[in-house]
Subunit: 428 residues, 2 copies
């Protein structure tokens, strides 16, 4: 192993940090893919990733699978005992008020807790600006439906979260890929060109720790994207599911903190930090709030009451900040371990992202590796991964994969990564 590290260090892929271990260097190339190629093709495309994604998820339902696909942390990383205690307390109440409808905009106590925390993101939201939703993806869906129609073009990062692409696909909108830098996110010069050339109806951005890229948009870029789009009347749908998971402990701001006149529709979720199965998300949709509330009522009538009550109580008295400190430390370590194993086991030419938050890793494989085929081969070995193609409407990233690093490191994960490395070699 020591020899492997020395070899990787000599290749410039990792560096030793005193008393801390080896760290993976960022991508050699700062942009993926070559920005010129994307610039040349600044045309929107129809989206068709849903079949690929649903094939993936059908496969991943097998509990025997090593779960490197879906972005799910190990359940033991969540504050189960505390959530349990809150649940038991709420379940003493008779009649069970958790069984009543909590019509939009949703639970006041939860909205109050979200508003209270929003100061950390530079937003200073009031509870009345917030609408709770059945998970973060419902928030994204409602925002898209509130401001765009079938046929409209939505600008987004390339690569970006497949859920956003599926949403655009199901709503029969079109996607325009803006190249994204693995460190700083969306290329705003290209975005500026794009809004001049093309009619763009909205822009969806994952500002903090983009999934799958791990990029963090710097504050000056957050300010600048608002300055580019707002004067043109183009709403920004900002997805920030991972902002609380910054490894350096500094909570990044949101684009929403640079909002003018309510053009930024901030969307978030508790699925990545507290309890995915509770299905609680929210949005602060600015000037489009009335439309979003109405669509929320049409789409699912109300957000489940009990999970909202539990999360509100947890945020108020449960020790969320302490939990998050432990969680981001765990993710930071897990990402390092997976990245190191990938560089050790995968063929030469493999590069990995170096996220500073979140828990997914973006891996560029040698050109000859077809990651959809790799995904199929891996499933047979009971390993789930996500092929890069699901993160692009135009089928880019064929030789990329996303790895979920949310799970506590085990020998089983180590063995799975070694197997993936062997499978990758079979392509050359």
């Amino acid at each position: 192993v020591q020899q492997a590290y020395v070899h990787l260090e000599s290749r410039g892929l990792i560096k030793a940090m005193p008393k801390s271990g080896f760290y993976v260097n960022s991508f050699h190339r700062e942009r993926l893919p070559d920005p010129e190629s994307l610039l040349g093709s600044l045309v929107s495309s129809e989206v068709a990733v849903s079949e690929l994604v649903s094939n993936h998820f059908l496969a991943a339902r097998d509990p025997l699978m090593v779960p490197l696909g879906a972005a799910c942390p190990s359940p033991e990383l969540f504050p189960s005992s505390r959530l349990n205690r809150i649940l038991r307390e709420l379940a003493r109440e008779v009649p069970l008020h958790s069984s009543e409808y909590e019509f939009p905009p949703g639970s006041m106590s939860l909205r109050r807790q979200i508003a209270r925390r929003s100061i950390q993101w530079g937003c200073k939201l009031s509870p009345s600006e917030i609408v709770t939703t059945s998970g973060g993806m419902e928030a994204i869906n409602l925002c898209l439906r509130a401001i765009a129609e079938p046929g409209d073009t939505i600008a987004l990062e390339s690569p970006t979260y497949f859920g956003i692409l599926q949403s655009i696909e199901s709503l029969k909108m079109r996607a325009l890929e803006i190249p994204s830098d693995p460190r700083h996110g969306m290329d705003l010069d290209v975005l500026k060109q794009a809004v001049r050339k093309t009619k763009i109806k909205a822009c969806v951005v994952i500002s903090n720790f983009n999934n799958p890229l791990g990029s963090l948009m710097p504050d000056e870029n957050k300010k600048r994207i608002a300055e580019i789009l707002i004067p043109r009347g183009i709403p920004i749908i900002e997805e920030d599911f991972y902002g609380d998971l910054a490894f350096n402990g500094i909570r990044p701001k949101d684009i929403k903190s640079f909002d003018v006149d309510g053009w930024v529709m901030l969307c978030s979720s508790f699925s990545k930090t507290l309890a995915p199965g509770f299905r609680i998300g929210w949005t602060a949709p600015g000037r489009f709030q009335a439309q979003v509330e109405r669509l929320k009522f049409v789409n699912t009538v109300a957000t489940p009451s009990l999970p909202q009550m539990v999360i509100a109580e947890y945020l108020e008295n449960g020790g969320y900040d302490r939990h998050i400190r432990k969680l981001r430390q765990a993710f930071s370590v897990q990402i390092q371990r997976v990245a190191q194993a990938v560089l050790r086991c995968f063929p030469e030419g493999t590069q990995v992202s170096r996220p500073e938050g979140g828990f997914v890793l973006w891996v560029e494989l040698p050109k000859e590796v077809d990651s959809i085929r790799l995904h199929q081969l891996a499933l047979r070995q009971k390993i789930s991964i996500l092929p890069g193609a699901v993160f692009s409407p135009s089928g880019r990233y064929r030789n990329f994969i996303r790895l979920n690093c949310g799970n506590v490191w085990t020998p089983q994960i180590e063995a799975a990564l070694a197997t993936l490395g062997t499978l990758c070699r079979s392509f050359s």
Copy 2:
């Protein structure tokens, strides 16, 4: 009071039943409105009821309101203690598996319980045919999106549940109103004409105890509607939220029981019988299951895990059948009491429906009463009702209202109905 009853009986509006009290007679006219008028205008219309509905719901969020609007039973009618106990038991489990994603098609234990009960409806579903959803309206939305596009025409009952109309409106589809009989539901002769004349993409039917009409489609009509639509390849989206609430205790069949080749997409919910705030619904979408599962994932990723687990356990061991017996008895009494009060307090010319299940009452007011104006006047007196216009895409039923009878009878409700009667008189 006795004098009033005698007066009503002499007008033929109620009849005395030995040892049982007074019962309200059904509408004098069997159809509402005049079927000829609807037949003459068999053209689809754009739908725009959402603003009216959301105005209503915004108002109804006030907890001081006498709740005759939204179709919500009193919380004390639900089995709180038992649901509580199940919740407390589940909250002992560490790590909390309820915090994990339950990806589509959803909880196997819940789908097994639904399948087990489906024999009562003549359906014999298998768990693998069922997809759980975030409430019954998500099921309807997903089914509509799976089979129709913006601009397509959907045939439906007139009047019908406003949630269906809002869904069609938000998806930019068109609605074709088929006249409906207060006793037997959709007029199938008109439907047959309509499918010959017009391109209909799907048909949405509330087969058992239509909301707001209370109609129950007879078995022979259920068979016939399947025979009319299935050979033409027109899917039937069957909403059956109220089927378990038949006052005579005989669980009616579903259209789904006459399905051939999976063209009937059955949708249901536990919001009207167990726990609205849990937000658990489901669909058995037949041949369109793959599309529905995919859209479910796109729309809200997964249905909340914990409420599914609680309901599954309650259905298995909680005494659901005993609970339902008590519930339908309560609703039957409450409907009688509201109907009697309406006929006592409202101006002459008022007629009420005579539902044999569910818990809403459909009231025809004298022609001069504008129910939207009545709704506004009632709100000022802290009474919520639903104006008839929200149940029709073309703005019919201006002199109708729907009254929620889900609440246990109180002097406050009695007083509110008297006030409504006085307000109605102010129109003449």
